[in-house]
Symmetry: C2
Subunit: 131 residues, 2 copies
Amino acid sequence: MPVGNQVVKPGPPDGSEVFHSNCAAVQVFDHITSRWGIWVLLGLHHGPLRFFELRGRIEGISEKMLSQTLRNLVRDGLVWRHVEPTVPPQVTYGLTEIGSGTADHLTGMFGWIRDHAEAIVDTQVRYDDAR
Amino acid sequence: MPVGNQVVKPGPPDGSEVFHSNCAAVQVFDHITSRWGIWVLLGLHHGPLRFFELRGRIEGISEKMLSQTLRNLVRDGLVWRHVEPTVPPQVTYGLTEIGSGTADHLTGMFGWIRDHAEAIVDTQVRYDDAR
């Protein structure tokens, strides 16, 4: 589980690589890239969803893990939570502006990987054949 | 640990959100976003490093976890491995073109989060105060 205490020590001093231990950005980055954070952000990328709709979109996630992941992302301000005071209450989740920008980056990275999927699979096959 | 079997079922049919279970892209995405994959890719972003140099840049990573993370990323073709036949052999790791593009996306995402760190911390404080 993410603990948010990594430090990647600076490379060349261009000012962009100092990741302070325990700084907020590193902790949030850990929440995003936690086992399920990515899939929750991508799952909400097209619009708000009820809890069970979101759960239905992410194969293999338990109710407990989805709750915990959403709690972290709501606390970080990447996801909002709205409770409709019906009986039973209807709870909806959606991306904030910060969460939406994050999901854009994730989508871009996923697209980059997918665009190179063929080369990646070739490399995997060569790697396995060499062993 | 990543198992690469998530499915985020499609939202609106714009063709970009169908993540097939067990497809190569999802598996690679899991390797990248594994507990340590991100920090290894960011650690190599400025240029190749020896194993122990890389380890020294990532606080908290064990030799075993670094080896396993590198093995996945080499197998995926995101990281290359060069062994200099000295005694003892010197092993160097660096980013391939695919790995470098991935690290660019990660850096962009990390920058986005860092640029919003103040708003994020404010939200966290309000969230905690409300409890």
